[in-house]
Amino acid sequence: MPEVKKWAMDVRMSFQKTGMAKFISHLDTVRLITRSMKRACVPIWFTEGFNPHAFLTFAMPLSLGFESYCETVDFRLMEEVDLEELKVRLNNALPVDITVKEIYVPTMSPNDIRWAEYKIIFNNPDNVLLNTAETKLSSDEIIVEKKAKQGRKKVNKEVNIKEHIKSFQLSEENGKLILNTVLSSGTSININPMLLIGALTKGTETDEQDVDIIKIQSYTESMEVFR
């Protein structure tokens, strides 16, 4: 028997998560979006197992403490609906710091994501960081400490991430150091900007936690904007 498609539309929602919403973890974001869908009466498809749940697929989890302008989640609609109107309804049901940008029929798969662009703001950089950041980023080896597993044992591994930094740009503004950079992202290789921040602040007096991190955009291998 041919499989019958039980839903009407596959859609993707892009949203931003800024301000205080950066303190909402990925799992809590999943629950928050699920509940918002329910409040907004979105006719979303539920899984049909013993415990039916709303079927949501997030392209990439966002680390706690990061802001983002390019989050996406895929879901299925049980009926054809006006996507523009749906966006308005959802935005009314969401907290202020999470805003739907667009709901559309996707053309790419989340597996197509290869790069991500970040804006990293060091709020209180010391002189050492200001003087060494450029050199460190330009050198052939950028060694970071990555947590890894050896069998069951947890170990710290030193890795060169040079090839995972596609581009970078440094600037200073009101005593802050701003780094715009494109890093490897996606299901196979993913470089968390915290690794890079750790490498840059190593040997400096700069507090690696006094940093704002904003995810700007996701791209494919050929640097097309992910949609």
């Binding site: 303190f23 509940r35 869908m37 202020v96």
Partner: protein
């Protein structure tokens, strides 16, 4: 709204969303537009506090008013507290980000004795003097309610006003009165004098307590025209009582993260150990239509996928068979699960079991409370072994494979035979599973026995009883372990030192304020949490104050002794409690209220009405 200097700290703490505010349905007002600001404080962490129904109700009661704004405050976890103290950030309310010392009314919910040190710590972190004698201006006024308010004496050095009973109406009365006195520019004393005239308001400083040589109370004298006994407040008609139309939806996973439908208050059972039963009487039920409507409204406003029906014994709700289909009618269509808490084994009907099978299956929990029939009769837990096993069989037929059994240890008249009875009953439940031909194939059974240590509480028939000593409890715990032979049974029990402290404060007097203050200064906080609880600090504090835990916990009180909580009137007649105490020692049961009214006296609080007698 979190201030900029706080945001910096949030990057360094666990679960920062505990401290951000801004959750859906939280109420933000303009502080210039209100006459009174109320900080509702829960003296435990965010996850516990946000699960509390009473807070949701009172938050909504105050915020419905145009002239007042209620905000939430929780105890910060120790990582956040350390950063706050280091950076001179005061404890703030989540809605405005303003510190506690900017509020007019600061209200604490006292749900358990082990949260007392957190009250002190929160006041201190919020820039408010901890001792009430150091707060001389009209505001802030520090108030406290909840079950512990029935014997508030140990906390009376810190709290200006206690509110015994239910808070919906008295909160509004107090808010009105404080607004009036703020406008009049009154002193704190003038305000307290008038407040003491409101039913359900206890102002401890208006009562002088004298002690005998042996430490017992000689007299309690009321002054300033305050009533000799403070009568608790209740809401007469639950259908028309205020109930929130929405709940705040937390960002993080909290303990009770679902729609709560309150079905009734009070309890008809009269188990002699249970304080909740006696201090929440008389019985008042809500009609199924109202409960259904309230759940519907909260569902629409929150997007929650679970409804929990809440009361002291939900299967005793007389209209449960009407309510369940009403809820299922819409909830199941919307993939909303309905769960019932506090079911009893003796009235678990086949129909109810069938209905429950429709929804997600959670574990099944029974509370026989004691291991032998003799002891169950003594504590008036009118459940027989046969009923427990019959219900377990029904549950195993229905596909359940794990059962939780709740017991208590250290009950009055208990012997080692009664302890062995716990293991025997658990074993019989295991045997019932394997004898059942309809059991779920290929699966084993898991029986979890959870043993709490009994703590005698005020306003129960056991209020005169000595609490079992830690040594005796440890011996009983060992006996239970050695009496258990099956690997299908897991046993867990409580640390007995926390029960000692609970017992001391539950029946303590106001001299204990010094001990609490000292313990807090030594760093005691979050005493209900194993990772923080430090009994050695408490022992030092008792010693330095010249008081002992044994005097409060392990002493048998005479019926004619003046008890610290005699100043409260919870409707329950003392003669009734004495009668029940005597019957306990004879292992004689008292039928539950629906079979025969035991004349506890609580109905006089509601003009003679009690829903147990229809």
């Amino acid at each position: 709204m979190v201030k900029k200097e706080v945001e910096k700290l949030l990057k360094k703490v666990q679960k920062p969303a505990r401290y951000t505010g801004g959750e859906l349905n939280s109420v933000v007002k303009n502080k210039e537009d209100v006459k009174l600001r109320y900080a509702f404080c829960f003296p435990d962490n965010y996850e516990i506090g946000m699960s509390h129904l009473g807070m949701k109700i009172l938050y909504s009661v105050v915020n419905e008013r145009q002239d007042a704004w209620c905000e939430r405050v929780f105890a910060p976890w120790d990582d956040m507290e350390a950063l706050m103290r280091e950076n001179n950030v005061k404890l703030y309310a989540l809605e405005s980000g303003d510190s506690l010392d900017e509020f007019d009314l600061i209200g604490f919910s006292l749900q358990y004795e082990l949260s007392y040190t957190n009250v002190l710590n929160m006041l201190d972190l919020g820039g408010v003097p901890v001792l009430k004698k150091d707060r001389n201006s009209l505001t802030p006024i520090v108030i406290a309610g909840g079950p512990c308010a029935c014997n508030a004496e140990p906390m009376s050095d810190f709290i200006d006003i206690f509110l015994p009973g239910e808070g919906e109406e008295v909160t509004n009365d107090l808010v009105d009165l404080l607004i009036k006195h703020k406008e009049m520019g009154s002193t704190k004393l003038e305000f307290l004098r008038e407040a003491a005239q409101i039913q359900g308001v206890y102002v401890p400083e208006f009562y002088n307590v004298e002690y005998n040589e042996d430490g017992t109370i000689k007299s309690i004298e009321n002054t300033e025209n305050a009533p000799a006994q403070v009568k608790k407040r209740i809401v007469s008609d639950l259908d028309n009582a205020h109930y929130p139309k929405d709940f705040i939806v937390p960002f993080i996973d909290v303990v009770q993260d679902r729609i709560v439908g309150e079905v009734f208050r009070g309890c008809t059972r009269g188990c002699r150990f249970c304080q909740a039963c006696f201090i929440t009487r008389p019985i008042r039920e809500k009609s199924p239509e109202v409960i259904n409507e309230q759940c519907r409204s909260i569902s629409d406003a929150t997007g929650y996928d679970e409804i929990s029906l809440c009361s002291l014994s939900t299967s005793d709700y007389t209209k449960i068979e009407e309510l369940i289909p009403m809820l299922f009618d819409w909830a199941l269509k919307e993939n909303i699960n309905v769960s019932l808490t506090s079911l009893r084994v003796d009235n678990f009907s086949d129909e109810l079991m069938e209905e429950l099978k429709k929804v997600r299956r959670s574990g099944l929990t029974f509370a026989p409370e004691a291991g032998t029939q003799r002891l169950r009769d003594a504590i008036n837990k009118n459940v027989t072994e046969e009923e427990v096993l019959r219900t377990a069989l029904k549950a195993f037929d229905g596909g359940w494979t794990s059962v939780k059994l709740y017991f208590m240890m250290g009950l009055p008249t208990e012997t080692l035979d009664d302890i062995k009875g716990i293991a025997d009953l658990a074993q019989k439940v295991v045997d019932t599973f394997y004898r059942n031909p309809n059991r779920e194939k290929g699966k084993g059974v898991q029986v979890s026995v959870s043993c709490a240590s009994f703590v005698p509480k005020p306003f129960t028939p056991f209020q005169w009883e000595p609490q079992d000593t830690p040594e005796s409890l440890t011996e009983k715990q060992k006996h239970l372990l050695s009496s258990t032979t099956s690997r299908k049974i897991t046993i867990s029990y409580h640390q007995s030192e926390t029960s000692v402290l609970e017992g001391v404060f539950a029946r303590g007097d106001r001299r204990l304020g010094k001990v609490i203050y000292k313990a807090w200064q030594k760093g005691c906080k979050f005493d209900a949490w194993d990772e923080f609880f430090d009994f050695s600090k408490w022992s030092e504090a008792f010693q330095e104050c010249g008081l002992t835990t044994e005097f409060y916990a392990n002493r048998r009180r005479e019926y004619d002794e003046i008890l610290p909580w005699d100043v409260m009137d919870y409707g329950i007649r003392k003669e009734f409690l004495i009668e029940e105490n005597k019957k306990a020692h004879q292992s004689v049961t008292t039928p539950q209220c629906r079979i025969k009214c035991a004349a506890c006296g609580a109905n006089k609080l509601n003009g003679g009405k009690c829903d147990a007698r229809s």
